[in-house]
Every structure is written in C-alpha cells, then in structure tokens.
C-alpha cells in the first residue's frame, strides 16, 4: 500500500516525489464539511484535547480550492448530493476522501426499505480512500483514519500500530 499512480505525469522524480508525498501526508488540509452529528466529533478532534494539529491537519479550510482532503462527516441527502459532488470537483489534485461515520459509509441508521431521502454511502459517487466506521466515531478514530491516509500516501505509518494484546480465539 502507499503507491500512488499519477498516470498523467510525464516526469517522475522518485526521491523528489517521496519528499512531496511526505509533505502532502503530513500537512493534509481538510475541508470543513461537517454535515451532521459526525461534524461535532470532527470539531472535537480539531479542538484542544485530541488536537489534529499534531498531525498537521488542523487547518480546516472552508474553501475547496485550498484543501487536500474532504472528510465527509455525516449523512448525504439527495438534496445535498449535487453540492458534495461540486465541492469534490472543485478541489484541486491531489485530493483524497475520508468517509467518516456510518452514514457516509453506507447510509448508516437511515438506510431502510422505502427510504427516499439519502444517498447510501459516499462511495457511490466519490472515490473514498479511508472509511471510519462509528456512529459517531470517536475523535481518536478520526485521527487513526488520518494516519491511515498518511500511510496510503507515503507507504509508511507515522505512528506504530498498537495491537490490543488480546489473544486470538
């Protein structure tokens, strides 16, 4: 994992690319795109206790033109869907998408037979890179998602993964 193909790039500079990837991964600028309850946990992740700033990701920009990563936090309703697509299209490359919360992954608790109002998952129309399950996921889960995304970009994980130590059944 961690290889990112840039097919349209004519010039491939391997070491410089690695430095660029490191720079991009360690300073991901998310877009303030909180739709519903997960937005509050995203705010809490950026606030004093959980502090996304340690990972370079505290600069939540309202404008999509200045962002790297779109954290889809919340339920995407059918009325909101064109706006989400437009915002994603307005982000400049390279860009990534994190689907945060059950609603962004698959519709969450609002997916039922006969539902008329929501899009069942952000990956039906966006290329999602990282999925963070939870309803809402803890801020630590969002930080883990950012670390996963960093690993996807650079190939290396910044923080060693802590195993739970429980024995396998």
């Amino acid at each position: 994992m961690g290889s990112e193909s840039i097919p349209s790039s004519i010039i491939q500079l391997s070491t410089v690319d690695k430095v660029l990837e490191l720079g991009r991964a360690n300073s991901l600028w998310p877009m303030t795109f909180g739709l519903a309850c997960c937005a509050i946990e995203m705010m809490a992740a950026g606030a004093s206790r959980f502090d996304l700033s340690r990972f370079g990701a505290e600069v939540f920009r309202p404008s999509p033109r200045q962002c790297d990563v779109m954290i889809v936090a919340g339920t995407i309703s059918k009325k909101m869907f064109p706006a989400v697509k437009t915002l994603y299209d307005q982000m400049p490359e390279p860009k990534w998408v994190i689907a945060m919360g059950n609603c962004a992954i698959s519709g969450g608790p609002f997916k039922f037979d006969g539902q008329y109002g929501i899009i069942e998952g952000a990956d039906t129309f966006l290329p999602v890179d990282v999925y963070i399950p939870g309803c809402p996921p803890r801020p630590e889960a969002l930080i883990e998602g950012i670390l996963e995304l960093e690993e996807k970009i650079t190939g290396n994980r910044r923080w060693p993964r802590v195993e739970s130590g429980l024995s396998q059944p």
Binding site: K78, K79, D113, G114, Q115, Y116, G117
Partner: protein
C-alpha cells in the same frame, strides 16, 4: 387570559354549521351515549367518526387541555380566537387516515404567558381534494409548518404565499408520509 372564554368561543365556532339537535342526538345514540356536543367513544373498536366539537381532556394522559374539532373552513377563525387570547402556535401536523379516505390537519397551540394551557384544533379534509385555508395571516409561523405539511401529505393550503417544498428537494414530486407511498 381567560380559559373559559376561549373554550366557550371555540364551542360556539365548532357548533356552527352542525346539524340540528335531534339529528345529532340520534347519531350520538347509535355511536355512544355521551354528551350532546359529540364525543369520541372510549371503546377501542369500531370507533364512530368524531363529530365537530370541543372536549376538555385529561392533561396528564393526553398532554393537552382542550381538544377541538372544527370544519376545514373554520380553522382560520379558530386561529384568530386563540391569537386574541395570546396563545402561540407550536406545531401543525398532518395525519393520513387512509381507511377513512381523509386527511387530518392538527394544530397545536400553547400559552406561554404564565399558566399552562394547551389547545389542539383539528380539521378533516377529504383525501382526494385536500384543500384547507392557510392560517399564516394570523400566525406567520404557520408558513413553514404548512409548507412542511404540504411536503409530506400534499395538502394544499389556500392563500399560502409560498407553497413550495421545504424539506424535500425542489424538483420532488412525491409526498412521502402518505400511507400509500411506496418509496422511490
């Protein structure tokens, strides 16, 4: 504010246009042996349709003090009576009684000036011709409540300044809380 006054005025309103007493009494005898103003029978099934009128109900059990049923074209006068008494509109609910082929519009009013007093006003309209006058002249807050009820039930509020979809997308063409809505 004078609770008894409000109840009396609502009673007077609800009894306008009601059939003469003997006919009411005959119908009531068939339904249930209760007062002449018309009452919903306490037994579960089969309930006779409730006649227009005002009931004073048990607040602890139902959450309201006065329950009034009026005709569809009387809702504006009911809103005016309650507005003059200083009450506020809390909510407008639509209910789809598909078995009776009727839609019901329920207005919840409450008094915020001191003592607790809640009034609910209902009106029934036929399902295939769901028109009812708007009360947004009396209570501007009803503007959005009526738009929401239109969203979910397709009830047309006559005289409403902007009867468009509020919660559903603008290009929507269905009314989801009707009982025969099957999803889309």
């Amino acid at each position: 504010m004078n609770k008894a006054n409000v109840i009396q005025e609502l009673r007077a309103l609800a009894s306008e246009g009601m059939p003469d007493e003997p006919e009411v009494a005959a119908v009531v005898e068939q339904a249930s042996p209760e007062g002449e103003e018309g009452a919903a029978p306490k037994k579960a099934a089969p309930p006779a349709p409730r006649k227009n009128g005002v009931l004073e109900v048990d607040y602890a059990g139902k959450g309201v003090h006065v329950d009034a049923q009026v005709k569809a074209d009387q809702v504006v006068r009911a809103a005016q009576i309650l507005d003059e008494a200083g009450m506020t509109l809390e909510a407008i609910t639509g209910v789809d009684w598909i078995n009776d082929k009727e839609l019901e519009v329920v207005y919840d009013y409450s008094y915020t000036g001191g003592e607790c007093f809640r009034v609910v006003v209902r009106a029934r309209i036929p399902r295939d011709q769901a028109n009812i006058p708007t009360i947004s002249e009396v209570f501007p807050g009803a503007n959005w409540h009526e738009r929401e009820t239109f969203d979910f039930f397709g009830i047309h509020f006559e005289g409403h300044p902007q009867l468009e979809y509020l919660l559903l997308p603008e290009d929507c063409d269905f009314h989801p809380l009707l009982k025969d809505f099957k999803g889309c």
